[in-house]
Symmetry: C2
Subunit: 316 residues, 2 copies
């Protein structure tokens, strides 16, 4: 099959081996897949992943242990767990000690004609969700993880730092909490998208002097984390959503002096994300900037890295 | 009066001005005061404090707005708050925006013949608590802050990193939770003190490979924080107790990938600390290494900085 492989550099393979199905896994023909910042970072050598990239996808099941799955349009959770280690036993399969992660760790991903995942990872999609919307289920689930881990009160002042792909989704998930929400960003066009759905969004240089009960750092930069430290009120909560590839000099004294809680948050629950899209409570369509054929993956990656661009998708 | 002043360097002043009492404050004759690592760090120029050092003390009230306080033996909370800012209004007086902090920020401290504090900060001591024990109330309160902010379950695996003054107190506070507790340290004599009270204590190089639900970093070093990151289980809690003066290169990716909660913790509640000492539930006496007269403060600070030494106290 064709697949976009990273093996030190990014290249499109025309004859990559088709996935071989172990017991319990399904073969999925990829219909559309989104490029995430994690993909861009892997392509720069972060995480030492080797294989087919991509973990945000919608596809159609073409082979599965249970025939009921065949032909279903699905999205899939990206952590494939062993179901027997201490973490899986504790109900935290996304932290399985033996996990592989689609397109990120030990498992080929979605920028290819086919992928494989355990059937247990698959979620059927209602017809009302288009392919273009469905590729947002995975990152939207990651945004829902915040309200799954942190109590956001309607009386809270909440800041989201970053107006990129993740910040856009996080803001849309947090808005219905009723909290007084502001997004601080750097791109007028992205801030405008937030204002269109009634979310207060400002240039990071203006405002943000009022300390917040909850600050969500979606900047993906060490400087953003320092801003988040500065903007979280004493005993407030700083949610760290994005990894920063490089170690930066960092003094954590403010965490102690201001008694902050810094909560790391990664993958989230798919069902609330699917429901929010199906019920049209969250509209992700304006966040899709461009769709490229898989054969033009290089151009797609370049586009995805441009300032002002939001989601770029690949069609195998 | 005599006072140990830091103004770029540490020196004993023979004619430092006596404290002048504003409304609502009491004058306290210091009976005994403990040297904290924060004092050692201030003496190295950390926090830019200028004035009399010291914040762990027991003393006797010699002047107060209400005569009932005169002659009372007291300890005192170190944050003096304005009682009118948004933080005070939220019941978080230790995070008062206008606060001064005894011997740390904008307020002369306890390494002197006299100090002043708001009457509201004072706590009377039962006779059963000796002066040598009473100087531990403030750091012991800081240890109790952990169980005030983090739910430590009896089924939890808990690691305390560091066998110094703070680690010793934290371990003694956490032991009664019933959690499976281990202290990892570097000093055989300090580890032995923990073992004497039935706490599992080991050289940091041995053990500690099992991930813990709760890790309390009392090392005061950037390396200690990295150990704590490594030893906290996915979705576990890392309690950061000690500030590190220097910014160290730090990659917070493990916080996100493992979805950790990093909880900063500083000052704590005095009442549980006083109660624990009064009821002999916690014995701090073995943690007092030496008492020096205030006039030998230089030698006392040198002693306090020696490896293997725990609490050093100054007697004005």
């Amino acid at each position: 099959m064709r697949g976009l492989v990273f093996d030190g550099k990014l290249r499109l393979e025309g004859n990559y081996p088709d996935p071989q199905l172990p017991p319990g896994e399904a073969l999925v023909r990829v219909r559309l897949a989104g490029i995430c910042n994690t993909d861009l970072e892997i392509a720069r050598g972060y995480l030492q992943f080797r294989g087919v990239l991509g973990h945000e996808f919608v596809g159609e099941v073409v082979a599965a242990p249970e025939p009921g799955w065949i032909g279903r349009r699905v999205v899939g959770e990206i952590n494939a767990s062993c179901r027997s280690c201490v973490r899986c036993g504790a109900g935290e399969a996304t932290h399985c000690l033996e996990r592989t992660v689609l397109g990120i760790q030990g498992r080929d991903g979605a920028f290819a004609e086919f992928l494989r995942l355990p059937v247990a990872n698959l979620h059927r999609l209602p017809d009302s969700i288009t392919d273009e919307e469905a590729i947002f289920v995975e990152p939207l689930a990651a945004a829902f993880e915040i309200v799954d881990r942190v109590l956001v009160r309607p009386t809270d002042r909440v800041l989201v730092l970053g107006d990129g792909k993740l910040g856009q989704l996080v803001a849309r998930v947090l808005a219905p909490t009723g909290a007084r929400l502001t997004v601080l960003g750097r791109h007028d066009s992205k801030l405008a998208l937030l204002r269109e759905v009634g979310i207060d969004a400002r240039r990071a240089s203006h405002g943000g002097d009022e300390l917040a009960d909850v600050v969500v750092d979606c900047t993906g930069s060490a400087a953003g984390f320092l801003d988040a430290l500065r903007l979280t009120r004493p005993r407030g909560t700083l949610v760290l959503k994005s990894t920063v590839a490089d170690a930066a000099p960092l003094n954590l004294a403010p965490v102690v002096i201001n008694e902050l809680s810094v909560v790391g948050s990664r993958c989230g629950p798919f069902e609330p994300a699917i429901q929010a899209l199906a019920e049209r409570r969250i509209n992700v369509r304006p966040l899709l900037t461009a769709v490229f054929p898989l054969d033009e993956a290089g151009a797609a990656f370049a586009k995805a890295a441009e300032p002002g661009v939001l989601k770029v998708a690949l069609q195998p």
